[in-house]
């Protein structure tokens, strides 16, 4: 009886620690004094659209700071409203701009690809935000955009904003694995 008891407590402790450690970086605050560029070297630009099955460049090291980070997603959510992304993309359903809550990604659904899309801008109306937003803010926005299609872990996203209720809460949005869409340009 006692060995089983010891084994089970050991298992419970290890499981609790693993669950808890996952919580650690979810709550990290990045109010850094120095701009993001100087703290973590930028990866090479993932901006090459790679036709066919060639593998994309490795993920930008800065992604670890933003993906699944609750504070980044929350700041991104406020920036999404303040910078009037709603004007074209509405609350992820799309309008003049493409929808952001589906799994179709013309320019890549990885966080660094979305950040590059925001920074560079895209043909057919996506403005370039380089110079208008800092790198940190662009990556916050990219983290929030990924949460519209349920990609980050459910404990990092916020269930609703304090505004009008816009569709299913992100905590209940199903995970839509991004696919590189080659749909014709509208």
């Amino acid at each position: 009886m006692s060995s089983l008891f010891r084994a089970s407590t050991l298992f419970v402790v290890v499981a609790a620690l693993a669950l808890a450690l996952a919580g650690c970086n979810r709550e990290e605050h990045h109010d850094r004094a120095k701009p993001i560029g100087e703290t973590v070297p930028a990866g090479e630009s993932p901006d090459t659209i790679f036709p066919g099955s060639s593998t994309p460049p490795p993920l930008d090291p800065r992604a670890a700071l933003y993906d699944n980070n609750a504070n980044a997603i929350s700041k991104g959510q406020q920036l999404y409203l303040q910078m009037n992304c709603v004007g074209c993309h509405s609350h992820g359903g799309g309008g003049m701009g493409p929808p952001l809550m589906d799994d179709q990604w013309r320019y890549g659904g990885r966080i660094d690809q979305i950040a590059t899309t925001i920074a560079e801008g895209r043909p057919n109306g996506m403005p370039s935000w380089r110079g208008k937003l800092t790198e940190d803010q662009i990556w916050d926005l990219a983290a929030y955009v990924r949460s519209l299609s349920g990609l980050p872990s459910k404990d990092a996203v916020s269930s609703r904003s304090e505004g009008m209720s816009a569709g299913t809460p992100q905590t209940l949005t199903p995970h839509a694995e991004p696919k590189n869409s080659d749909a014709p340009q509208q």
Partner: protein, 673 residues
């Protein structure tokens, strides 16, 4: 009248043969059990003294080792655990207070950052209110009330064990989360929309709200245990009029918990559902309202502070009675004052919301209601003062704490009357003036009597006296340290220092009062440390205390120190308000309870005439396992709502096993195994 129910039968004609045989079998079994019942050994003139004590000991003791430790249902063991765990959380909360005071000692100090400081004051508030104040009062009551009422155990002892484990798991969850940087930082009141899904990302506010669920389930369970114990298990002859004032205080407190805690349970569950599945209770843009949270929270919040204060009035009544060598003056007035305080406390909550712009006419009602609640407390204070004046006070350490209580608490009560007026509260609300007010009524009003009562009942719990000299030094340190720490806060509040600020600019005149408060805080910390040292040292080096070292009057002093597992060899009979003082040498007792199985006496509610012999549950692991199962479901439900749907099954299994009898055969007399 035999207690075995022979099955009653409808008309014989329509009965099928099967039922006929069933009837004979049950009849035979009844006869057999009636014979067995006659052979049960019971206490009485023929079986008393050491022989009885040995037999009762074997029936009532729990299995040894870790399994026994987890399975205990002895109210004394659970009470001790409650008190020790609550004092541990007091120390943790106190350390947080010292960190806050170090940060606030100097203006514009960058020692502790904003986010860290917000976590500190949230954890300080939540720990002190939910993990220290209410549980320590429950712990003292769970230990002392059965002894004071002449009962062998509390009602529902397994529910009592479950309540302690839920409290322990709630406290552990909050502090482990705080250590893993997931601690709440939205204040112990967690106003929405700051604690809502948009402005507190991550799981910080969910951890806080789930800690509320844990501690509220624990407090409600303990409250039901206390109400049933006080109403049903009093010694024969202890009518309601003869019940000690401490028992009255715990009865009023338990009923208040039963009506107040569901409010915070509801609003914290609504907050968690807002944060996890996106309901819109507090979302102003979707027909919700941020003030719905404040109304529900403070409907619980204000009774909560009386839930902490009323047991302390019970403590003061006990100490005044013993140390002034006479019953408390005007017993009926104190009882009525307790009851009216309990009722009035539910009508005041809007005085926490004077600045939220509700209609001014409504505010005037709450001003007068808030002022009127100080009348019953004022009468209680008069009765204590009359007891001191008319008795022969002996100023040993517990009585010093009563004097310290009166001097400190009355200042807090009067500043309470000041902030009850709307024009004054608009200036003083959410400033350090209010911080001073509630520390005066909570530390002065509850912690001082608590330190006094722990010194008073320490010999009963451990069998040894606490050191008188260390006690006196400790008292003067905590009393003077407290004034030095919290009186200047009235001044910094009037100079315009708001609450919950991690720093303040220089040049506003706040430097001197904040520095004094920091010094005072360290003196109080020293004093509490001294009290703990005194308690530890006296465990081994304290003078041996007999059953009644203070010459007190209530029943807990009629048994040995520390009391045996079964409390009383024979259940005592009470004939007056101060039983031990009115005896003529011998303790009147009733006999006839079983000796081979755990059994206690139930009496009627008002007149306390003997009514039933109730089997006392055996120790069992199931309350602990149920607490673990319910705890895991609570914690998992922070991360996904499906945890509740899936988690009901293990909880149902654990709770059924807790209720299910070990052997499914009939006993001569019922046994809860």
């Amino acid at each position: 009248m035999t207690d075995i129910r022979a099955g009653t039968f409808e008309g014989a004609a329509g009965r099928p043969a099967g039922a006929e045989r069933e009837r004979e079998r049950v009849e035979a079994e009844n006869r057999r059990l009636a014979e067995e019942r006659k052979k049960i050994v019971r206490d009485g003139p023929k079986l008393k003294g050491a022989k009885l004590a040995a037999r009762l000991e074997t029936a009532w003791r729990r299995p040894p080792g870790i399994i026994g430790w987890l399975a205990t249902v002895d109210h004394k063991e659970i009470g001790r655990r409650y008190i020790i765990t609550a004092l541990a959380f007091l120390a943790l909360g106190g350390v947080l207070a010292l960190l806050m005071r170090i940060q606030l000692a100097r203006p514009d100090s960058a020692l502790i950052g904003a986010e860290r400081y917000n976590q500190l004051f949230t954890m300080h508030g939540s720990t002190m209110m939910f993990l220290f104040a209410v549980p320590v009062m429950e712990g003292v009551a769970v230990y002392i009330i059965p002894l004071m009422l002449g009962a062998r155990s509390t009602a529902f002892p397994r529910l009592n064990a479950f309540s302690y484990f839920m409290y322990l798991f709630g406290g552990l969850m909050l502090w482990v989360a705080f250590a893993l940087n997931v601690g709440p930082d939205v204040g112990w009141f967690a106003y929405t929309p700051l604690s809502g899904p948009e402005f507190t990302p991550g799981k910080r506010a969910d951890v806080w709200a789930q800690m509320i669920t844990f501690t509220e389930v624990s407090a409600l369970a303990a409250a039901v245990v206390l109400v049933c114990t006080i109403l049903k298990t009093r010694a024969p002859g202890m009518t309601l009029a003869r019940m000690p004032l401490f028992a009255w205080a715990m009865l009023v407190q338990a009923v208040m918990i039963i009506f107040a805690m569901p409010a915070v349970a509801l609003c914290s569950s609504m907050l968690i559902s807002d944060r996890t599945i996106g309901t819109n209770f507090y979302n102003a843009a979707e027909h919700g309202d941020a003030l719905l949270w404040q109304h529900l929270f403070w409907f619980f919040g204000h009774p909560e502070v009386y839930i902490i204060f009323i047991p302390a009035t019970g403590f003061v009544s006990v100490l005044c009675e013993t140390f002034c060598r006479r019953p408390v003056f005007a017993h009926a007035v104190v009882v009525l004052a307790l009851i009216s305080t309990g009722i009035l406390a539910f009508g005041l909550w809007v005085h926490h919301m004077f600045a939220t712009g509700l209609p001014r006419v409504g505010y005037s009602f709450y001003t007068s209601a808030s002022m009127s609640v100080s009348i019953p407390t004022g009468l209680q204070i008069f009765c204590w003062l009359a007891t001191i004046w008319d008795g022969r006070p002996r100023f040993q350490v517990p009585m010093l704490y009563v004097v310290g209580f009166i001097i400190t608490f009355v200042i807090g009560g009067l500043t309470g009357v000041i902030v009850a007026a709307v024009p004054l509260d608009l200036q003083l609300h959410d400033t350090y003036f209010v911080v001073a007010h509630f520390h005066y009524v909570l530390i002065g009003g509850a912690v001082f009597p608590l330190l006094g009562i722990l010194t008073y009942w320490y010999p009963k719990i451990t069998g040894r006296m606490m050191s008188e000299t260390l006690g006196k030094i400790g008292f003067w340190l905590v009393f003077l340290g407290f004034q030095l720490a919290f009186f200047p806060m009235h001044w910094s509040g009037l100079l315009g220092m708001p609450r919950r600020v991690y720093t303040y600019p220089a040049g506003l005149g706040l430097e001197v009062p904040n520095l004094l408060s920091t010094i005072g805080a360290f003196v109080v910390a020293l004093a509490v440390g001294l009290f703990v040292i005194n308690a530890m040292v006296s465990l081994y080096r304290g003078a041996i205390a007999g059953p009644n070292p203070w010459g007190a009057a209530s029943l807990e002093w009629a048994t040995s120190s520390p009391p045996p597992v079964y409390n009383f060899e024979h259940v005592p009979v009470v004939e007056s308000n101060t039983p031990l003082w009115d005896l003529d040498g011998e303790l009147p007792v009733v006999t006839g309870l079983r000796v081979d199985q755990k059994e206690m006496l139930l009496t009627t509610v008002v007149a306390a005439t003997p009514d039933l012999r109730e089997p006392v549950p055996e120790p069992s692991l199931w309350p602990f396992i149920s607490a673990v199962a319910v705890g895991i479901v609570f914690i998992a439900s922070i991360f996904s709502p499906w945890a509740i749907a899936v988690g009901i099954i293990p909880c149902a299994i654990a709770l059924t096993a807790w209720f299910w009898p070990k052997e499914l055969k009939r006993h001569p007399e019922p046994v809860i195994s």
